[in-house]
Structure formats: C-alpha cells, structure tokens
Amino acid sequence: MTITRDTLLAAIDRITAAMERDFDMLNSADGALGDGDLGVTMTRGMRAITAMKDDLPNDIGMALFQCAQAFTKSSGSSYGTLMATGLMSAAKTLRGEESIDTANVPELIAAARDKMQERGKAELGGKTVLDSLDYVAKATDGADDMAQAAADAVDQAMVDFRDKPATVGRARIFGEKSIGMDDPGMLAMQSVVKAATGR
C-alpha cells in the first residue's frame, strides 16, 4: 500500500474537520494546563494548509514541506512548531518521491519523534505529544492493520500517561496537580491520528 498526494489531501480534509470540531476541547484542555490556545493553533494551522492544498505538488516530500511551512507561519505556539518539525523531518526523507510505502511509516514517525525531541529538548516519558508518537511508532512497526494499530496506540498513550505528572512545557509548573489530567498535546495527536486514519 502507498500514500500519495490524493491520500494526503483526503487526510488533510479529515484532520481539518476534526480540529474544527475539537477547537473548544483543545483550548480548554490547554487552558487547564497551559495558555489555552491549542485549539487556535491547530485550527489556524490546518486552515492554512487547507487554503493551499490544491497547490500542493505531487512530490510528497515537497508537499509535506509546504504543510510544515504553513504551521511555521500561522503560529508560534510550541505545538505548531513541533508539528512543523515533525513534518519537516519526513519531508526531507521523502523529497523527490511521489508516494510513501506504508511499510516505511513507523520509521518516518520515529524519525519525526526524534527530531521533535531535539527541538523541544524534552525526554520521552514526559507526558507530551512525543509519547503519543512514540506509541504510534512502536505499535505500527510490523502491524497488520497499521491504521488500527496507530489509532489504538494514541488511545493507549492517553490511558498510560493520564496519572503521571507533566514535566515539560507550560504544564510542568502544575507538577503533581497535573496528575489525572490529559496532556493537551496528546489529546491533539489523538484527534489527528484518528482523523488521518479515518477512525
């Protein structure tokens, strides 16, 4: 199976719709542990991508690169920059290709995770979007139904981390108080992955 420009466009539509739907939910999750703008960041970024999606090239690397740029320009929030960093990582690997072999997806996600980790200077296990991606990378690796595995992984990450304290970003300051609360960035990745995989 392969992912082409068309697959990407369809996923963009679903993710954009999911972000519009989750606007309030993400803002208030971020409001409880941060500055309350994560819904704004995600809708702005996805709207910017949607606005130019018809112009995306067939070169899937270039297409992802332009998606990354849309995030970089539309907001300076941490999450937008992390998303851009992850997309950029995949974009560099895929440059010149017109499709992605799904077999390579776990590796692409793992590489994105690593680049994002470098950018955010945070450890895995800190209850952030990194942990969601880490779960996805590991769960998809060798899975039969990769989409289902990814969707299950983001759910599992939520469950496994809910009762840990936040140690990264604005949420860090809440320390123990963050136990029992979902990390907004993990919630956003849950929505993104489920929309991307059509769950």
């Binding site: 500055d35 309350g36 703008d37 704004v40 740029q69 970089t72 320009k73 539309s74 907001s75 300076g76 929030s77 941490s78 937008g80 920059t81 992390l82 851009a84 960093t85 950018r119 955010g120 200077k121 990264v168 970003g169 604005r170 860090r172 300051i173 809440f174």
Partner: protein, 333 residues
C-alpha cells in the same frame, strides 16, 4: 478588566501600527509579516545585532526596547504567544549587519523552539547566531533547576547591558558573553493582585478573590508559590526581598541595581511605597544601589501587581548599564 479594543484579531497589528506612527523616530516595521519591529535608523554597520522576541502584551517588553544602545530588532507574536519561527528569522535578518546576531530572550518553551528553528533558517543565509536565555524568575523553579526558570523583567537589564556592549563595537562572542553574565546576575520575583484579559480570549487569565494576592505568579498568570490574603506593602516587599536575597545573597560592598516594576495597573505611587522597603533591605545587606528603576518596564497589560529584579553588578556590568541608550520608553545618559 475592561479594554479599549477594536476587533481582538487585529489587536497586535493595530498596536504596532499606532506605535510606529507615534514614534517614527524610533521604530519601523520590517519585512512583510507585519510582526517585526526594527530600529528606525539601523545601527552602525559591522555592529553585532541583538534580537529578541516573544508574545505581545508586555510593553515596553519586547518591541519597546528596540533602540540605540539596546535591541536592533524584535519579532512579536499575538498576546502572550510566541511569534513564528519565520518572523523571528526576519527579525534576525533585520538585525544582521554581518557581525552576527545575538538572540536574547526569555526562557519560554515556544520561544526557544521558534528561535532555534529561526536560527536554522538563517544559517542558510550565512548569518551566525548565538543565544542567551533569561531565566530570572526565582519563583518558577528551585535553584537546582535554575535553567528551567522563566525569563521575566531581568531581560531589561540584559537588553541594556548587551546593547551597550554591541554599541561599543565588541564582537559576537564578547557581546554574548557579557549578555550571559548579565542574565546570570539577575533574579526576579513577581506578585499579582489581579489578572489581565487576553483580547482574543476575552476573559481574565485567572480568577482571584478581591482580598487575595498570589506570590510568585508569572507574567502570564502562571501559578506562584502561594495564594492568600493581600498583605501590606511592607510585608509584600519584605517577602519578595527575602526570596530574592535567599537565591542571590548580597554581602557588604556589593553593588546592585534594583527594578521595582509595575505589572501594569499598579500605579507609581504604590511602587514608591514599596521602594522604601526595598532600599532599606538592600542597605541592611550592605549593598549599594545603582540606578534604581521604578516604573513600568515589563508588564502584562492591565494586570495589577509588581515584580522586583535584582541585578548584581561588577565593574563591567555597571559601566555598560550606565552607558547611553534611547528608545521611546527608556533613556539613559
């Protein structure tokens, strides 16, 4: 907190339009993002550039400090939101006159990521960047994790000192080193009495009872070290000084500058009432006060509250602090 606004979406654009229109001798917009402010008259060619950036809503921080003997350019985001990496790259470009650029800003996750990314973008254009992060808020992490602290009003000292060093013609490494020294010499703490309203959010950043205050609160309403009954001015000043001096003890003969800063709504009258106690505590410690700064230097729009910053000086820092500077909000010499 009531605000005088048009469409909240346009808050920052309109603010920058008004600011550059009111002070064309100091500020101009650079590039086409509309979010980068540069000096009206570019600095001497060959001078090390100094850029900063961060969220809007803190005037004079950040854009206000663009000026001679201070910053060269600044990227500014929405209220309390980081500017984008692209905008920061533009600010770096505006500040560069081929002697390299120091990125000098507060330690906030988003800003750090974006300035790092911006540095990668301009690397392709052969602009060398260094970084100094302000992490002066003692309430935001214990001394063992001092590098995790948030950057607050201490950055004003760093802007001033690094700006003077750059103006003197020092090279990028030297400017960076002295900026780091200034950053290391600063300790701050804030106390908030009331929240402010982020225009696009439309509601206060936090709730607090009419007879309460929060010690150690951050400038975006980040939780502090305690919340309780509003104390007297002398008790507030006393506790804030205790916390600062515990983190950076002063001994007889030390020279120190101190900033007593309004977070916005708190008027100068109250700052002066606080300053009596600040001065007597520093004098009790045997320190000599150099250039006390009492006023609004780093704010959160209409938040009521204060912050204190100590900047411990050696001869080099004191000389640079006293060097001339000029922007619409602050002039020395």
């Amino acid at each position: 907190m009531k605000k005088i606004l048009n469409n909240p979406e346009n808050y920052v654009d309109e603010m920058l339009a008004g600011m550059t229109a009111a002070h064309p001798e100091y500020y101009r917009l650079h590039g086409d993002s509309g979010k980068v402010v540069a000096r009206a008259k570019a600095g001497k060619s060959g001078k090390v550039g100094i850029v900063t950036g961060g969220g809007s809503g803190h005037l004079p921080v950040f854009t206000g400090y663009v000026g001679e003997g201070l910053l060269d350019a600044c990227a500014i985001g929405d209220v309390f939101a980081s500017p984008s990496a692209e905008q920061m790259a533009d600010a770096i470009r505006a500040a560069d006159s081929s002697a390299g650029v120091l990125r000098l800003y507060g330690n906030y996750g988003g800003d750090v990521m974006n300035f790092d990314m911006a540095g990668e973008l301009v690397e392709f254009e052969d602009i060398t960047c260094t970084t100094v992060l302000l992490a002066d808020d003692v309430a935001s992490a214990p001394p063992e994790e001092a590098e995790k602290r948030r950057g607050v009003a201490g950055m004003v000292y760093a802007f001033k000192i690094a700006g003077a060093a750059a103006e003197e013609g020092r090279d990028l490494d030297a400017v960076t080193a002295v900026a780091q020294k200034a950053a290391d010499a600063c300790r701050s703490i804030g106390a908030a009495l009331s929240p402010c309203t982020v225009p696009q959010a439309g509601k206060p950043t936090f709730e607090i009872a009419d007879d309460e205050m929060e010690m150690g609160m951050g400038i975006h309403g980040e939780p502090g070290v305690w919340r309780g009954k509003l104390k007297t001015a002398d008790d507030i000043a006393g506790e804030m000084m205790d916390r600062l001096l515990a983190d950076m003890p002063l001994t007889n003969g030390d020279r120190v500058s101190v900033m007593v800063n309004s977070l916005g709504a708190t008027p100068p009258e109250e700052l002066y009432i606080l300053y009596r106690m600040v001065k007597s505590r520093l004098e009790d410690a045997g320190a000599t006060i150099v250039m006390p700064l009492v006023g609004r230097y780093a704010t959160s729009m209409e938040m009521a509250g204060v912050s204190f910053t100590l900047c411990k000086l050696d001869d080099e820092l004191e000389k640079l602090l006293n060097a001339p500077c000029d922007c619409a909000f602050w002039r020395v010499g």
